[in-house]
């Protein structure tokens, strides 16, 4: 029987969460002020979307995203459901395409993130990122002819602070990879990326 590639990370995250929950007694209130930095590491699994009949490739594989961001505002519209703080940052995205062929992709994407106030400890967020992306999958599939591409990402998630400086994050991203018309064909690759990870604020 083939073991799911997500089994090990999910078990690890569940064990960490369980440890975090059982270790916490006092109320956790994250204090994020202007200049607070966030270092994060997330991992997920890329799932393909073939949006047109011309799309045939079922690209999939694990993705790892180390990230950095900085809080640049105090809470905006505090007290309202949409109240939150703005973060600017960047991340490196690495994707190992297991399908259709074992190939790799790496990109650098500046990102902007809005972290809602939420309930204090549980804080939803939305984010948008985009930047250059290189992959040797390009040229081996009918959709993409070039190895140099761009990746655009939009999504959201939930941050659960298990200490005032550390959070566990789960989220969803929609990924689009294409080369901005620098070479044809350029149909683009579209994917969903559910992920989980941790952030450290300092």
């Amino acid at each position: 029987m083939r073991r799911s590639p997500l089994a090990a990370p999910i078990t690890f995250i569940a064990a960490l969460l369980l440890a975090a929950v059982t270790c916490q007694g006092e109320e956790i209130v994250p204090r994020l002020s202007v200049g607070t930095q966030e270092i994060g590491l997330s991992a997920g699994y890329l799932l393909p979307h073939r949006l047109t009949t011309d799309h045939t490739t079922k690209q999939s594989g694990p993705a790892v995203m180390p990230s950095w961001a900085m809080v640049v505002t105090d809470p905006i519209a505090s007290g309202h459901w949409y109240g939150g703080q703005l973060l600017l940052g960047a991340e490196i995205v690495y994707i190992q395409f297991e399908e259709p062929e074992l190939t790799h992709g790496v990109g650098f994407t500046p990102k902007i993130k809005y972290l809602f106030e939420g309930t204090g400890r549980l804080r939803p967020y939305v984010e948008f990122a985009g930047g250059p992306f290189w992959t040797d999958l390009g040229g081996q599939i009918p959709e993409q002819s070039s190895q140099f591409n761009f990746i655009l990402t939009a999504g959201g998630g939930l941050s659960w602070f298990f200490t005032s400086q550390m959070s566990f994050n789960v989220g969803y991203r929609f990924h689009h990879i294409s080369n901005a018309g620098t070479q044809y064909p350029n149909l683009g690759l579209n994917s969903s990326l559910p992920y989980g990870g941790f952030s450290f604020y300092f």
Binding site: V34, G35, V72, T73, D74, A90, P110, G131
Partner: protein
């Protein structure tokens, strides 16, 4: 004589990267109010047996008009600032214990009104531009954080006479994205608050004669009355910080 074009590009690239790294990490603080030390009056003298204690009754803090919890740090800082004047025999908080009855004391009530503007809109717009430029434009797009403080202090002498003092100060931290730290914001708030406290202390020191023990007799009964009522609203309460006895330092932001 012609340098290798690759070498030239590499040199230019390294120079640009260094420029971004160096200038993109800077921050500086601008005070928008004149220093209170500029017109410091001559020191006044008070005899030790003329000094009376000061009791800090309460501190009310508001931020952008919304009431906040006052921190022990703020209280300690204000008490230290008042102690530095040397006018009072000792200073204490009302919560730390009642003064001995029948003793001449000055009671203080302070309103600490903070105004913060982190320029969220322009920061978001600049953030999008910075991100789109892969942060290359970081040295050319500084971000801004403004902080203003308004201190309003009522000092009530043992005979019920009240003197009102006010001071204002404002400042801004300008920074490049990579130079932002929480310490930078603390520095800005520290400088602004310190300017306000120095100005308040200067005003109080000018009224030294008003607070000497021999300036007024202690009321014979030793029993004072206080009015008991609920506050109508925070906005009206802050607006009621009224007639300045000494000219406040008014700062145009």
């Amino acid at each position: 004589m012609n340098a290798n074009p690759h070498l030239r590009r590499l040199t230019l690239g390294c120079f640009g990267l260094m420029l971004t790294a160096i200038t993109g990490c800077s921050h500086w603080i601008e005070m928008k109010s004149p220093s209170a030390e500029a017109d410091e009056p001559a020191a006044q003298v008070i005899a030790r047996d003329e000094q009376v204690p000061l009791i800090l009754d309460r501190i009310r803090t508001t931020r952008n008009g919304a009431p906040q919890n006052s921190s022990a740090d703020t209280e300690q800082r204000i008490l230290s600032s008042l102690a530095d004047i040397g006018l009072f025999s000792y200073l204490a908080s009302a919560t730390s214990g009642a003064p001995p009855s029948g003793e001449k004391t000055v009671r203080a009530r302070l309103l600490f009104d903070e105004a913060i503007d982190s320029h969220a809109g322009s920061t978001a717009l600049k953030g999008i531009v910075l991100g789109a430029s892969m942060y290359i434009l970081t040295p050319f797009l500084p971000l801004e954080y403004e902080y203003a403080a308004h201190l309003s202090l009522d000092l009530e002498r043992w005979d019920g006479e009240i003197k009102h003092y006010e001071s204002r100060s404002a400042g801004a931290a300008r920074y490049h994205l990579f130079g932002a730290t929480p310490i930078m914001i603390d520095e800005l708030k520290g400088h602004v608050t310190e300017t306000c406290l120095i100005d308040l202390a200067r005003q109080i020191a000018q009224d030294t004669g008003f607070y000497t023990a021999s300036s007024a007799p202690l009321s014979e009964s030793g029993i004072r009355t206080v009015s008991v009522k609920s506050r109508s609203s925070s906005t009206s309460a802050s607006a009621a910080a009224a007639v300045p006895v000494s000219a406040p330092v008014s700062i145009e932001p």
